[in-house]
Amino acid sequence: MRAALFATCVNDAVYPSTAIATVRLLERLGVEVDFPPGQTCCGQPQFNTGYRRETEPMVRRMARAFEGYEYVVAPSGSCAAMVRDNYPRIGAMAQAERRGGELAEAAGSLAPRMYELTEFLTDVLGVEDVGAYFPHSVTYHPSCHGLRLLGLGDRPLRLLRAVQGLELTELPGAEECCGFGGTFAVKNPAVSTAMGDDKVRSALGTGARVLCGGDNSCLMHLGGLLHRQSAPLRPLHIAEILAATRDEPWQGEARSEATRPDRPARPGSAA
């Protein structure tokens, strides 16, 4: 089976380890992975901030980049939901504005072929035990767009439960938003931080060492709060947990601990 990886711009630029883990995981499961280099960003930040027309070139670029692939896999529920949920909407609006059906066609052709990583694993590949090994305690935060727009349900949890060595603890109030919300994080920093602080407190209360999620943008927000507090909890994308095996274990723990003493809480940081 062949699938195209939609790495997403955040993973490409800031979290390449997640995209690399996705490649290794899919290849281990027998998938031939391509990375069409024409891809950049799905356009969600622009669209959700009110710049629909400025998003249209992104829709065209994405449709072109992934043309001909039966499966496109993204290690992000939010970006996958942007394509599945909003691309058809953007196309329909352009059509309603009498600007032709070309955009609607491009959006409509890509939307049904876009899969979030965990649903691709469970629904297309039909696997729950991906042969992973991760001997750490983990709590899982389901990000909103994967949860509510894609309806991922317990797919990520089923995958995590099948990981050898992994100790899964339930996150109280798991389905409540972490407060990232794209540009919401900077347009409404006080509320965003208040929501994030509550999420971080719940996560720390589980006693887990790793806070797992399916969207690195949410984890960047939560990780930023955790790091400011020097809290003993490491945010980590689910792809990196599922990619880890006994032969090739996750390397991140050592690295993150090595860097932590360099970055103590700075003066004036939140108490």
Binding site: P16, I20, C177
Partner: protein
């Protein structure tokens, strides 16, 4: 003080009083630091949220009821002209008088004139969002008419010179200790004082309100209400409440004036049946609503002898003309979206600068008032787009969709030049993968130089959050090195 307190005491609830409000982010920056408010709201919303979830889960056909409610409202809004005329004819036939008000000023004028014509200078009020929306109490006060709120929570708000912060539970931001203080200190200014030695036990607080309000019910000759529904086929109005105070107002006075938004009409009693199932479970988590009052015009010797219906537009037809935004008019004011909203829970209702707070307020207010003022322009952004509101809405209003739609409207007006320029610049980079890759590589090289705290707008991130460490190379470079055979 009672003569003038009616004027000053309600000034906070005026629609006009919200003008000049700080933007949502500014107001929320203050309210999120209010520990008492956060504790009150967190406790109240969590409790009601969990109860609602249980009440809804009991019904096997909830999804069908939700779809039916949406379809009924959409159909009615599509044929609103027809159903409003049918309603007018039925109300008139039943002995009522129908008035049409294009905006708040017109509605206030009509109500004030109707009250003045009775010779009365006091009215009792049933809890009503429409009359708060138009600032009726202040308009009446300007004419020398005192309006007494009789809903328990509205009474707390009125006595406390406060503003409502929730559609269903206007005093949700208050705990019982604060309510005891308000009753003890202010009830005497408005009528019967609070009993001596009042404690903050719910039973004692309710009894104090009962005694205070009973005096008003027995004296009042005029009542003002809103309505949850208007049934076009018979001209019947419906008020759904849980205290019985509304029913006192609807039955005891001689004159009843109801101010109702035009979107509250439903075609038939069969349609009403759907909402009488979904509204109580969504709002108070009750299986059946405790006090459902229905009246059709007037009846000799039974209830008010004069009934006036003021049909209020006040921006609704403008919202109706918007193909995406019009779904907000399906709202039945259950407030399930407020109770489930993580932003509302932390910012509180006052930050929304409108009688309609929370997610529904963030899409309704900018449509009814426009997006010219700072507060109204900031409301569509007062959401993380988590989608919890859409999930619980009993008439399936896709609130995130409307929020994004309204953001487009705001982004298109003045004051967003810098943001638009940034979006355009990003658009160029994102449409040229080579340029993007060069930028990613430059950032990776400079990763050690990245400041801990960003200047300017970036501070909104780094004031509370550290930036992630940038990688040594972007993913696309790793791919080229490690999977060179597969692409160009």
């Amino acid at each position: 003080m009672s003569g003038t307190s009616g004027t000053s005491g309600t000034s906070g609830t005026s629609g006009g009083a919200f003008l000049g409000m700080p933007s949502f982010p500014e107001a929320a920056a203050v309210s999120t630091q209010d520990r008492q408010l956060r504790a009150n709201l967190s406790h109240a919303t969590r409790t009601i949220r969990e109860k609602r979830a249980r009440a809804v889960a009991e019904l096997a056909d909830w999804a069908e009821l939700r779809a039916a409610g949406k379809a009924i409202k959409d159909h009615t809004l599509r044929h609103l002209d027809h159903y409003l005329l049918q309603l007018e004819a039925a109300v008139t036939t039943a002995g009522g008088t129908v008035h049409w008000a294009a905006d708040a000023a017109e509605a206030n004028r009509i109500v004030a004139d109707l009250v003045l014509a009775t010779g009365e200078r006091e009215v009792v009020k049933v809890k009503s969002m429409a009359t708060q929306e138009i600032g009726l109490n202040e308009a009446l006060a300007a004419e020398g008419i005192t309006a007494y709120e009789t809903d328990l929570a509205e009474l707390i708000v009125q006595l406390g010179d406060d503003r409502p912060s929730h559609i269903l539970v206007p005093a949700i931001h208050r705990n019982r200790r604060e309510i005891r203080e308000i009753f003890a200190e202010r009830m005497a200014d408005w009528g019967r004082p609070a009993p001596e030695g009042l404690t903050d036990s719910p039973a004692q607080l309710a009894e104090a309100a009962r005694l205070h309000l009973r005096e008003k019910f027995l004296r009042a000759k005029v009542a003002v209400s809103g309505a949850n529904f208007m049934v076009a086929e018979t001209g019947t109005l419906v008020v759904v409440e849980s205290e019985g105070n509304g029913r006192m107002c609807l039955t005891l006075p001689q004159t009843l004036i109801s101010v109702v938004g035009i979107e509250k009409v439903v075609p038939s009693w069969r349609d009403l049946e759907v909402f009488l199932q979904t509204l109580p479970r969504s709002s108070t988590a009750e299986r059946m609503n405790p006090y459902t009052s229905l009246w059709t015009g007037t009846s000799d010797g039974d209830g008010p002898s004069a009934f006036h219906l003021v049909l209020l537009d006040n921006g609704r037809t403008t919202a109706l003309a918007d193909q995406v935004g019009r779904q907000a008019l399906r709202c039945i004011r259950c407030s399930a979206c407020l109770n489930v909203c993580p932003v509302y829970e932390r910012a509180g209702g006052h930050a929304y600068g409108s009688v309609y707070p929370g997610p529904i307020g963030a899409i309704l207010t900018p449509q009814l008032r426009g997006t010219a003022s700072e507060i109204d322009a900031s409301l569509p952004y007062a959401s993380s787009l988590c989608g919890a509101c859409y999930e619980v809405c009993p008439v399936a209003i896709d609130i995130p969709e409307v929020l994004v739609h309204l953001r487009e409207r705001v982004a298109g007006q003045g004051g967003h030049r810098l943001e638009r320029a940034a979006v355009k610049a990003a658009g160029f980079v994102l449409d040229h993968p080579g340029v993007l890759a060069a930028g990613e590589r430059a950032a990776a090289k400079a990763r050690r130089l990245l400041p801990r705290r960003l200047p300017g707008p970036g501070g909104a991130w780094t004031d509370s959050r550290d930036l992630p460490d940038l990688p040594t190379e972007p993913f696309r470079d790793w791919w080229q090195k490690n999977r060179p055979q597969q692409d160009s």
